[in-house]
């Protein structure tokens, strides 16, 4: 659905995006993460046709975005992080304007506006002037604008900035429902918990290059040589300390008062054996489990240069 082939962007003498190759199939939600200056915004702006790449090509629904821009735009919905709205219009007028600008069939526009307004929860503000809306409401209206023409592809650059927690949750639900309806979403965000459990794939960008790309599971599994096991117990920890130290697959034992972590370099079956061993040794375990690596952990590793 979205295909970036050898996409490159140069500003003056600097390569901002360097030979990027990404393919996002239909219905996928692809999260783009990386530190500031990684090239996320440039990538999204090239994908939606706002920036012409120095080299390479961008295809959306099989259409070259830069060779047939007006044809491609019918499939693309775009939202940037900081934007303004036409403050001198009413909410419905704003959406009506974009519905016509996207050349939607006249007959369906009114119903679609009502539907989108309901989706973003602005029903009571339909006839209100935009300049009277709060920042969060304006952000929601921006999202409504991006989806008014039912695009197959949504390109969202930090869409949740400025939204309160409730609105963020609503946005997440909206994007999830759009994804379930078949929309392909490319989203960049610094609020990494937003991408967790929502993105089907992620791409880690650094200095204009895609350093990792795939499902969260794929990436975390390639990034970790060992599992982190968190456990808590009751009573003395001496037996626990001894049993863990005796296991050659366990390292980095850090036990505090009734809870601790250790690194485990074995398979899931080996982990099950360790648990049985501890219980057999009389350790009164309250909890025992692998700490799953989150997108945030990955991001932090990236920013500490640990991903390479």
């Amino acid at each position: 659905m979205i295909r970036l082939e050898n996409v490159r962007k140069e500003y003056d003498d600097l390569v901002a995006v360097n030979d990027l190759n990404v393919e996002i199939p239909q219905g996928q939600v692809y999260g783009l993460i990386g530190p500031n200056g990684a090239g996320k915004t440039t990538t999204i702006r090239m994908a939606c046709g706002l920036l012409e790449p120095t080299g390479g090509s961008v295809h959306v629904s099989g259409i070259n975005v830069h060779q047939q821009p007006e044809r491609a735009q019918q499939f693309i919905g775009y939202l940037s992080d900081f934007f303004s709205l036409y403050e001198d219009l009413k909410v419905w007028e704003y959406l009506d304007y974009f519905a016509h600008a996207y050349k939607m069939p006249e007959a369906g526009i009114r119903a679609r506006i009502d539907e989108v307004i309901q989706q973003v929860g602005l029903e009571v503000k339909t006839d209100a002037m935009i300049k009277g809306l709060s920042r969060g409401m304006k952000q929601r209206l921006g999202i409504a604008r991006a989806v008014i023409h039912q695009p197959k592809v949504l390109l969202l650059d930090e869409p949740a900035s400025g939204l309160d927690p409730k609105a963020r949750l609503d946005l997440r639900n909206l994007l999830r429902s759009l994804s379930q309806e078949g929309a392909t979403i490319l989203i960049s965000s610094h609020i990494l918990t937003e991408l967790e459990g929502f993105c089907t794939s992620i791409g880690l960008m650094e200095k204009g290059r895609m350093v990792r790309s795939g499902t969260i599971q794929e990436i975390t599994s390639t990034e970790t040589e060992f599992r982190v096991v968190r456990l808590s117990w009751l009573g003395e920890s001496a037996a626990l300390q001894a049993r863990l130290a005796a296991n050659p697959k366990v390292s980095g034992i850090a036990l505090n008062n009734l809870e601790g972590v250790c690194k485990f370099a074995g398979s899931e079956e080996d982990l099950a054996d360790l648990l049985r061993d501890l219980v057999t040794a009389g350790v009164r375990l309250v909890s025992f489990g692998e700490v799953k690596q989150t997108v945030e952990d990955l991001y932090m590793k990236l920013s500490r240069n640990e991903v390479m």
């Binding site: 140069e10 003056d12 003498d13 600097l14 390569v15 360097n18 939606c48 046709g49 706002l50 920036l51 012409e52 120095t54 080299g55 821009p69 007006e70 735009q73 019918q74 693309i76 775009y78 940037s80 900081f82 934007f83 303004s84 709205l85 036409y86 001198d88 219009l89 007028e93 304007y97 974009f98 016509h100 600008a101 996207y102 050349k103 604008r145 650094e206 200095k207 204009g208 290059r209 350093v211 500490r304 240069n305 640990e306 991903v307 390479m308």
Partner: protein, 509 residues
Amino acid sequence: MLFWQNPEFIRHARAELRPARAVTAAALALVICALIGLACWASTTTYAQNDFFPLFYFWTMGFQFVVLTFWCASACGQAIAREREMKTYDFLKTTRLSAAELMVGKLLGVPILAYYTVGCTVPLAMVMGIVGGYGLGTIALTYLLLLALGLFVSIMALWTSMQVEGASARTVGLLVIFPIAFTFGFAHSPFAGFGALSIFPALFTLYRVNLDLGRISPTVFGWTVSFPLLTLTLYLLFGAWFALMLVRNLKKEIEGIRLLSRWQAIGFAAFLNLLFYAFLNPRIIQPDSIPNGFQSDINWIAAHELAISAMAFNACILYLIGIATLSPQEKLKVWWRAYHARQAGYFSESGPPWPWLIPAALISYLMLVLEALWLQPRIPLDLWRLPVAAAVLGVTLVFVIRDVLFLQWIGLTRMKRPVMKGFFYLWLYYCAAVILAILATAVTRANTQFIVLGALTPYAAYASEAAPVSVWSGVLVGLVIQLFFIVLLLRAISGRLGRPALVPALSEG
């Protein structure tokens, strides 16, 4: 798509013409008309009562002219720049509206309150005009001219707005009014037709206000044409060029704007030359001396002077198209790589602009030759001194190429607004050359200014008749210096383009 169905037009109409604002604007316009009426009444009761209606009509029309011109220039001047600043323009660019639809929507929608305000006062002005003794046709033509002016000012202001950023946009937009006002002076020149770019000759002719202007009849290839018709035609033709430049660039980032393609630039040069010869009244071209019985109060020009004037006019055209075809930095880099990989030629669309100045200059010279051949029955061909004109054009071309290359090079630097700064540096350079020439003359007490100006500017070539020997020696020295600078600039540009882009190294871990 009809303009009233254009979403961009509808957006502006909705926002600008909300009932409260519309009523206020109409009421305010009518109050101003009433005040104008009172002022006219006060002045005519003292002098001539019969003049009240015409006077009221003219002042109301003047008010409409001011409102429409300044409002259109100001509003359209910031139409795009402000949207860029507000970050709403990106959303417009990602819709399915084509650049042409966007342009039409903005052109008619942005100043809609001005059209509405003027529209509210039109019926009153028309009644005053008819009662004042003017024909309906005259009044209708007046409003057609006013509408054409509004659209022309709007498209020029929109064109400037596309190329500037920030708060200066409105001011720059307002500047478009000045050329329209100043071209009025052309009505008294051998190229009276260019005076039609200003609306005043057309209005003055319609109402026979200015006796002097009433006697002037612009010609197109020797045929007399009325000023109102010529004004409408010129607005249409130049408006079409502005529209072309807008449509090409409206959806581009400001850094990627290139006003015309190479071939369009050559077409534009040919178009301006065509206008030059079309507006030139052939009857005023004379051989070297004033013929017996020639009316001394009519402007006349010798054939060789015209040839040199045409070359000077083409110097401006070459500068214009050179600037209009400057390659954006990124495009030039891409071309450079393709050129070195033998995938693109030197005359490529994205390549350097200077080679394209040569065919434009050749076309301009060819048109001069055609003009000379056309008038050959009356003026012998040798009196045009075509070889001298060719030499002057050649010298001009070298200087223009040097300056265009300088602007192209400066565009490759990391300066902000490089072209504007490039212009400034060139202006400083030419000022310095003039000062140097004045100083040289003062010190040597001879005609050394021609040598200095010949070496540093193309001016001396045009003044070849003033000091033939010293001029051409200066010009030759100048040509050698300029060719050296051209080579230097080409090397500098190559050096910049050849520098490998900096690929940030990935962190080690």
